[in-house]
Subunit: 240 residues, 2 copies
């Protein structure tokens, strides 16, 4: 049986070096874009349109769309949502289309747009995601959004958790070097993920912004079975 490569791409800026025609790409931005996206679908959003730039987000806002936009950890002015998962826990979003633009997450989606399939991962849907991945018999690229193209501890820990689950399955997954490193990092932090995260810069950044509850929620597992996926330019719930 031929091996199925699982790789972790630690920054959107490295994506071209990892790109593979037959790989499914999982976009990861734990604090907080992909956690917010999973939450929005759990609360009934119909579609989400990821856009990289704030200009584009403003255009949609002017056309009457609901828009979530964040820069540097805080909601961008003049929009309906930031990227706190809590802001999407509302009936107001049910059946709606929401446009989103965030510092890192939407840039990663943009980088991977041409992949054969792009899905959204977070601790909130980790079990559903891993089970689905195992059914696809496909190579996997776990794409960390990072922070302004730099390494992100929390995204890498999540990638390591997925790499660990995939490699523990009976499928012939082969972990690339970054996936191996992320897996060992996750395993060494597993008993207490806060230990590593405690010293991480983005946690400090969010903590300073008073977002302790956001951090806690974004690290909680299996809040939803929904796997958002990119369909053309739009995110939809898988099988919707």
């Amino acid at each position: 049986m031929s091996k199925l490569l699982v790789e972790v791409c630690l920054s959107p800026n490295l994506y071209l070096s990892y790109e593979r025609e037959n790989a499914i790409v999982v976009v990861i931005d734990i604090f907080r874009a992909t956690s917010a996206i999973c939450t929005a679908f759990q609360f009934g959003v119909h579609k989400m349109i990821p856009v990289a730039g704030l200009d584009k987000a403003r255009e949609y806002k002017e056309k009457g769309f609901l828009v979530g936009a964040e820069r540097d950890g805080v909601p961008a002015e003049g929009f309906d949502f930031g990227n706190s998962p809590f802001s999407y826990m509302t009936d107001k979003i049910k059946g709606q289309t929401i446009v989103i633009s965030t510092t890192n997450g939407t840039q990663a989606i943009e980088a991977a747009r041409k992949a054969k399939q792009v899905v959204i991962g977070s601790f909130l849907n980790i079990t559903a995601l891993c089970n689905w991945l195992k059914q696809q018999n496909s190579e996997v690229i776990l794409l960390c959004s990072g922070w302004k193209n730099r390494f992100s501890m929390e995204d890498t820990l999540f990638a390591g958790a997925v790499a660990d689950r995939l490699s523990a399955s009976s499928l012939p997954y082969l972990l690339g070097d970054a996936a191996l490193a992320a897996k060992y990092m996750f395993l060494s932090a597993q008993k207490n993920p806060y230990r590593l995260l405690h010293e991480s810069s983005h946690k400090k950044r969010l903590h300073a912004l008073g977002l302790k509850e956001d951090i806690k929620y974004c690290l909680s597992v299996d809040q939803t079975d929904i796997i958002p996926m990119l369909h053309g330019d739009v995110l939809v719930a898988m099988n919707s």
Copy 2:
């Protein structure tokens, strides 16, 4: 006392996101460019001229220089050396100037060329390097050469070893996220670095090329006190 940031840049392609005016850059390519460079200086080479492209290397060869050139783990044809440290263990290089071009290492030197100071690190000079860094009272960027811009296990382990030594000192070093991750990876692999490396792709690549002894030598510590540094476009032994 103000903090001194220590960061690990996991690929030359991410260097622009990590670049800082006041940082010393340590270029790392454990298998095998920076290990070979340290060895060459230990065996008395006078200068080394790193060049990124093989065309440039050929130009120097035509001018009568000794040239070491490697691509994809094997010596490039028509040159005097590859990048095995063992090939530099010869009296032939004493007092000479050698031009070098390798798959990853010289590209990393090229990326960091404008930094205030660029030095060459490997397990072979780790103690001398760390002691010198601690005397500089400076920010540090540990630049992993990686493999064709991808993450490299062995370079990251070395960066983690340096981050660990610096953060254990009495200086006010502050580890960035990638430095923290590399440090924890190194600590979890410390008792047996072969455990992590065993599964790594580049080790497999070199092993397949029959370079087991090279791997072993490149992971041995403190074979030299010399720290090669970039002076203009040329590597020289520090204080030479």
